[in-house]
């Protein structure tokens, strides 16, 4: 009982609450699986076996077990799910990062400089938000051709205004806070004001947007793949799996169910962790 000698139990400030912990574990597991896909996938995700088409979970052939069943071309659903995690996570991560950074910078600049800069940026935001994302996607892919990189470009191009709007509104209110005023009076330049005083104070709101967007990006990628504008077959993505599985829901439920479940878990985990990070950014909440 040596531990009880401490008079004041030090609060475990950095620990993650038990409500969030399992979801953090799921996210870490998904990330690891995505990174280590070639090592953990039991089969090649693109190898077809026309004799093992639409087999239920647990089906065995040639000494291999299809733990989550096989799809319409006889490919292993589990292996495709594992490789698909790569695509889904990478597309979502890359587009959230790109659009998040761009939108935040642009929104902060609009609010900080005001005047014609503000008008120009915020009108552009309105315009981009009013163009249907799918239309923009079709045009872009028509011009650039469908590929992984182009999916990220399309998603970033359509989604940055979300961050810009939030960054803009938040910066407007935070820039009027006495502490920002004080640091101007202490001789801080614009870069220091924006990066040290404004950004940390608007980060919470942006993280909430980013986590919601992350889930949306996974779904958008699925939508683009469904339309044939996303990652091209035979590359596995959860979206594409859902899209094809949709045709077989009545006869082979496992093709769409498992990617759907994975998607659900991923989005849920991200959102819960996002909430937690936002709370942690506020020192009062620690």
């Amino acid at each position: 009982m040596a531990a009880t000698t401490a008079t004041t139990p030090r609060p475990t400030k950095r620990s993650i609450p038990w409500t969030v912990l399992p979801f953090a574990a799921i996210l870490v597991a998904l990330l690891l699986i995505a990174i280590l896909a070639p090592l953990v996938a039991p089969m090649d995700p693109n190898t077809q076996n026309l004799l093992a088409r639409l087999k239920a979970p647990g089906f065995q052939a040639r000494g291999m077990t299809y733990f989550l069943g096989s799809d319409e071309l006889g490919r292993d659903v589990l292996s495709r799910l594992i490789y698909g995690a790569r695509v889904s996570l990478l597309v979502a991560f890359a587009s959230v990062t790109l659009s998040g950074i761009f939108g935040t910078v642009v929104g902060m600049i609009a609010a900080f400089y005001r005047g014609w800069t503000e008008t120009l940026i915020m009108r552009l935001v309105d315009i981009v938000l009013s163009v249907p994302a799918i239309l923009l996607a079709i045009i872009t892919v028509a011009v650039l051709g469908p590929s992984f990189a182009n999916v990220v470009i399309v998603l970033s191009m359509t989604r940055w205004p979300r961050y810009a709007r939030v960054a803009y509104g938040q910066t407007l209110s935070v820039a009027n806070m006495p502490y920002v005023r004080l640091s101007r009076f202490m001789g801080a330049g614009w870069l220091r004001l924006l990066s040290r005083h404004i950004l940390p104070n608007i980060a919470g709101a942006l993280i909430v947007v980013a986590t919601l967007e992350f889930g949306l990006m996974v779904l958008f990628e699925a939508g683009l793949s469904f339309l044939g504008l996303g990652v091209q077959p035979p590359t596995a993505s959860w979206g594409a799996m859902l899209a094809t599985g949709r045709n077989y829901v009545a006869t082979a439920w496992w093709i769409a169910t498992f990617p759907g479940l994975a998607l659900f878990l991923l989005v849920l985990s991200i959102n819960l962790i996002g909430d937690h990070i936002r709370d942690r950014l506020d020192p009062r909440g620690r």
Binding site: S183, M186, G187, G189, R192, P283
Partner: protein, 323 residues
């Protein structure tokens, strides 16, 4: 040849074309505490912001000069001004808690000026910040430096703000109603601290206040403002002994004296402060002045020298004692 540390000459500020500061002049000597008093809206803060070269977006500097130790500030570029702010010139405000970044530790916020102006970082800066916290009377400065603003009281936050302002040893500190948000005991402590720091470091202070009690306690000299102008200026003792402007007279008359009554903030004088752009012809105080006559309503009284110790802008200065 000696010149004042700060010299403000015929300063003019407009908001939407309307003057809010209308030709203000005053000097502050090295180590002096000048108190700028006047009713709400008379342009005290705008005057302070002009000295710092940081007016709100809506306001414009439309005339006059601000000289700091012989350098004309209005001729400097924004970068040159930035190098002065927080370094030679510093300013503190009324809202001590809201003036500190809620997500930054106190110590880090005090170090900022050292990083910006001295290129000092790391252990050295941390040491200096902790020393500064001790200097402004914060107990356990090592612990406080590692805390966030919400963990400190209002008085502590005001001390921390003073520490931020003074860490680079500015020559002029502008304090815009620094104690208004604090309760009376803490107010007295903060004022004592400012006076003590002035005595030790020779920092001149431009103290903006509503409170004649604060003026009596702190100031070496007083400049009384009314509707965008300085209407009377004098050393504090001379001003409290004898006022030559009816407005100052009425301000001081309504203050309870030395009888232990709680200090009152700016007392109520009959009539309303005129809105900007609604200033009357002639003397701006004439609608509320008991001595006003036609001469007052016709021509603006100039700020005229008064027995070599101050100046007054009133046509009937010699009759003021009768009010």
């Amino acid at each position: 040849m000696s010149h004042p540390l700060l010299s403000v000459d015929e300063l003019r500020v407009t908001i939407g074309g309307q003057p809010v500061v209308d030709g203000i002049s005053f000097d502050i000597a090295q180590g002096e505490i000048l108190s700028l008093v006047g009713e709400s809206g008379c342009g005290k803060s705008m005057t302070a912001f002009s000295v710092m070269g940081l007016l709100p977006r809506a306001a414009r500097l439309s005339g006059g000069r601000v000289m700091l130790d012989g350098t004309e500030l209005s001729a400097l570029t924004e970068t040159e001004l930035q190098a002065l702010r927080g370094n030679e010139l510093a300013m503190i405000f009324q809202e001590p808690v809201a003036s500190l970044n809620p997500l930054m530790k106190i110590g880090r916020q005090i170090e900022e000026s050292l990083i910006v102006h001295r290129g000092l970082e790391g252990r050295e800066a941390r040491r200096a910040a902790i020393d500064m916290l001790a200097e402004v009377g914060i107990p356990e400065p090592e612990i406080r430096a590692g805390q966030y603003p919400f963990e400190l009281s209002g008085g502590m936050c005001q001390r921390a703000m003073i520490a931020m302002a003074l860490i680079c040893r500015p020559r002029l500190l502008i304090a815009d109603e620094p104690t208004t948000a604090l309760d009376v005991t803490i107010q007295a402590q903060i004022l004592d601290l400012m006076k003590k720091l002035r005595d030790e470091t020779g920092t001149a202070i431009l103290l903006i206040t509503h409170d004649m009690g604060v003026v009596a306690e702190m100031a070496d000299r007083v400049a009384v403002m009314y509707a965008g102008r300085v209407i009377e200026t004098a050393p504090v003792d001379a001003l409290f002994a004898r006022q030559e402007h009816p407005y100052t007279r009425l301000l001081l008359k309504t203050i309870p004296r030395l009888d232990g009554e709680p200090k009152e903030t700016l007392p109520v004088i009959e009539g309303l402060v005129p809105d900007i752009g609604q200033w009357p012809e002639g003397c701006r105080f004439s609608p509320r002045c008991p001595l006003a006559n036609d001469a007052c309503r016709k021509a603006v009284p100039p700020l005229a020298s008064r027995r070599d110790i101050g100046s007054t802008a009133c046509w009937h200065a010699e009759q003021v004692g009768a009010i």
